[in-house]
Structures are given as C-alpha cells and as structure tokens.
C-alpha cells in the first residue's frame, strides 16, 4: 500500500522575532516617527497615523530590515521577485475596550505587523482566520483534547516587542479585544517591484 498525503494550497505565515538589541535600538526612533504622523483620533480607543511611516529617513534601517527579511522568505518559497515595494506603513494604538474587526488588505501582496513596544497585557492577540470559505460547510467533532492546525479555523499571535508577523494580504485577520492600557502596532503592505508575468504568456504588468 502506498499512501501519499498532500498538503495543498497552504497559507504561509511567518512569525519573526528581531534580535533583542535591534528591537531595543529601534523602539525610540519608531515611536518618534509614529508621533510625528499621528492623525486625529476617530474613536477615543483607536489612534492611527497616516500610511507614510516607511518614508521617514530616521527609520530607514528598520525599513531595510523588513525588506531584506521579507525578500529572503519570499525567495525561499520560489518566487522570483526582483525587489519589494512597501506601498504603505501605518501605526495603530488600540486602547482598553478596542478591537479591530476582521478585514484583509486589497491591492496588496504581502502584509505584516510589527510591535515596536512591549504591551503590558496578554490579550489583544492578532487573530488570523481561515481564508477558505468552503472549509466551514461541514465540520466534524474533534477528538478530546485535539488541537492542531488541521482542526483550527483561527490562529492567534500574542504581541511582543520586536515581533513581526508576515502573511499574504488576502488572509483575513483582526485584533482581539484590548483590556490593558494601550497597544501599539505597525502595519504594512508590500508589493513585488519590477516586471510581473512572462511576455506573451501571462498578463504582464510593471510595478
């Protein structure tokens, strides 16, 4: 008997922790950059910057680290991408009682979240949701105590200073309720740069 188990169409998510000394060194410049771009709060518990943080020269080393790190992971999957373009980067402060409902990022390829400071609470997890709508048509019961990625339709990450979560932009995500003071996060969208598609074969586009 020959059994081959195929794990098709996986959704790859990276959890990357920056070296502690880098996360410490970046904290102050990042928070200064964030303060310089803060917009008036739309809700008392929800503050956000504009989406141009990646253009601030003082945090160029951090931006370069993101691009190099993401590029190496993408190349590792076999994608031939000449360069990456961060199309937007913004920071969000969620305070007690806030949540960020489920959404994804249209017109983007890869998205990520970075936590510039340590959040005092243990809640406010980044929630990732199964992107396969049809996978929830029928769901059997799980064996007692069973919990693994084959059985779950939700995955959560706790925020931690220096941590970057990287995922495809189509992936539905949100933030679970914040109960402590406030939590800062920096989000970004990434597009592949250069010529996409093969001449005469695919739709060819230059970004």
């Amino acid at each position: 008997m020959n059994i081959e188990r195929l794990e098709l169409f996986p959704t790859v998510v990276w959890c990357i922790d920056a070296p502690e000394q880098l996360a410490d060194a970046w904290e102050q410049p990042l928070m200064t950059a964030i303060q310089s771009k803060l917009l008036p709060a739309q809700l008392p518990e929800h503050h956000q910057t504009d989406s141009t943080l990646h253009t601030i020269p003082e945090i160029k080393k951090f931006i370069d680290w993101i691009k190099i790190t993401v590029q190496s992971q993408i190349n590792g999957l076999g994608w031939q991408v000449e360069d990456l373009d961060i199309s937007g980067m913004w920071a969000t402060r969620l305070s007690s009682g806030a949540t960020h409902p489920m959404h994804n990022h249209p017109n983007s390829w890869m998205s990520g979240v970075y936590y510039p400071t340590q959040y005092s609470g243990h809640d406010g997890e980044l929630m990732l949701y199964d992107p396969r709508p049809a996978a929830s048509m029928f769901v059997p019961n799980k064996m007692p105590g069973a919990s693994n990625r084959y059985l779950s339709n939700t995955f959560s990450f706790k925020s931690q200073k220096g941590r970057m979560i990287l995922f495809p932009s189509y992936l539905w995500h949100g933030v679970h309720t914040i109960r402590s003071d406030s939590r800062w996060s920096m989000s970004f969208d990434i597009l592949p740069k250069g010529v996409l598609g093969r001449s005469g074969v695919d739709n060819r586009v230059t970004l």
Binding site: G97, T99, M102, N107
Partner: protein, 207 residues
C-alpha cells in the same frame, strides 16, 4: 440602447420580534443555564488566562432540551420555516416532502463582558440570535454580519458598492430575533457593562 441591471447573489436576513408574557422567567432560566454551562464568563480574556473550562467548548446540556423553553424553541423553528419557505418556495414545489425545521443545538450567553470574534456556524442551514436582554447594547456589543462575498477583489472607486457592504450591524433590542443563513460569518462586538447582556443562539437543519 437598452440597459438591464441584474442584481444577483443577495443574502436574505430576517427580523422577527416577540416579547413573551413569561419573558422574565425565560430570562431567568437562561441566566441559570449560563451559570451551569460556563456561558457567563468573560470571553474577552485570552484562552491561556481563563481559569474555567473553555466557554466555546461543548455544552454539558443543550438548551434546546430545556422544557421551560420548549414554546420558545418551537417559535424559533416556526420563524426559520417562514424564512426558509419564503426564499425556497419555488424550489420546494419539486420536493416530495415539505421540509421540517429542527434545532440542532441551542445555547445562551449571559455576560457583562462579552466578545465573540469572527466565526461561522458549520453543519447548519439557518441560524438565529434572539436578544433576551440587550442591556447596554445600544452603546456597544452589536452583532456584526460579514458579507459572504469573498473579499478578494481589486479595490478602487469602482468597487465601493461592494466595500460599503463588507459588513453590517443591527442595533438589537429586547425580543428581536435575527434569522440568517448559517454561512454568514459574524462577530459579537465588545460589550462591557455593569449589567449582563443575555442572548440565545441556535442552529437548525431542514429535512
């Protein structure tokens, strides 16, 4: 020139309203059931910090079997039949037997601190939420329903009509019953108050 516009892929959601003469007894019974079945704990606390059993896990007793709620659950089934019949009438004509509605599971939540992140109800045809006591829900804690259209389109000014309906939230009131197809994913938005908010939810199948 003639123009015909076709609006396909609509999603029916029904509102019914009923306050029973024994409303307070029903409320008390549900609150009592929640105490026994771990459905009154705060669900804003992350799983790792919960001392009690997981409130999302299976119930020790199904609320649908509670004799004091039998009239209410029969009404739920009747409402689901009305909704399902309205949208399926022309298809049911071809069936040999008229379908009947059965509640497959029914539960309640009674909590002063509540959040139920984005989820769906598998193995079910139609689902319902009955708001027994919305308490301070007019301030927060609405149920948010998400569009079943896969949010996977290129987004620009031409798609604003899709984006505008990516999710909707109704302001609930005591006695409101919302019946919706179970494939509609939804989210119980954060609710935090001195007073408890009590709802009943259920799934059904038609055979």
């Amino acid at each position: 020139m003639s123009i015909n516009q076709f609006n396909y892929w609509s999603t029916p959601i029904f509102h019914f309203h009923m306050i029973w003469e024994d409303h307070q007894e029903i409320l008390a019974e549900c609150e009592n059931w929640c105490k026994k079945n771990n459905k009154e704990v705060s669900v804003m606390i992350p799983d790792s910090e919960r001392k009690n059993a997981d409130p999302y896990s299976g119930m020790s007793e199904d609320l649908k079997n509670n004799p004091k709620l039998s009239r209410l659950s029969k009404w739920f089934e009747k409402c689901v039949y009305t909704a399902a019949h309205q949208v399926n009438e022309k298809f049911w004509k071809n069936l040999t037997n008229t379908p009947t509605v059965s509640i497959t599971d029914m539960w309640a939540w009674s909590s002063s601190e509540y959040y139920n992140h984005y989820h769906g109800h598998p193995n079910s045809s139609w689902s319902g939420i009955y708001y027994l006591d919305v308490s301070d829900t007019h301030k927060h804690g609405h149920t948010r329903f998400y569009s079943p259209l896969p949010y996977n389109h290129y987004s620009d000014a031409g798609t604003l009509f899709v984006d505008a309906e990516s999710n909707i939230a109704y302001e609930p009131g005591d006695g409101l019953l919302i019946i919706f197809p179970s494939y509609i994913r939804h989210e119980g938005m954060p609710y935090r108050s001195d007073k408890k908010r009590t709802i009943i939810a259920f799934n059904t199948q038609l055979k």
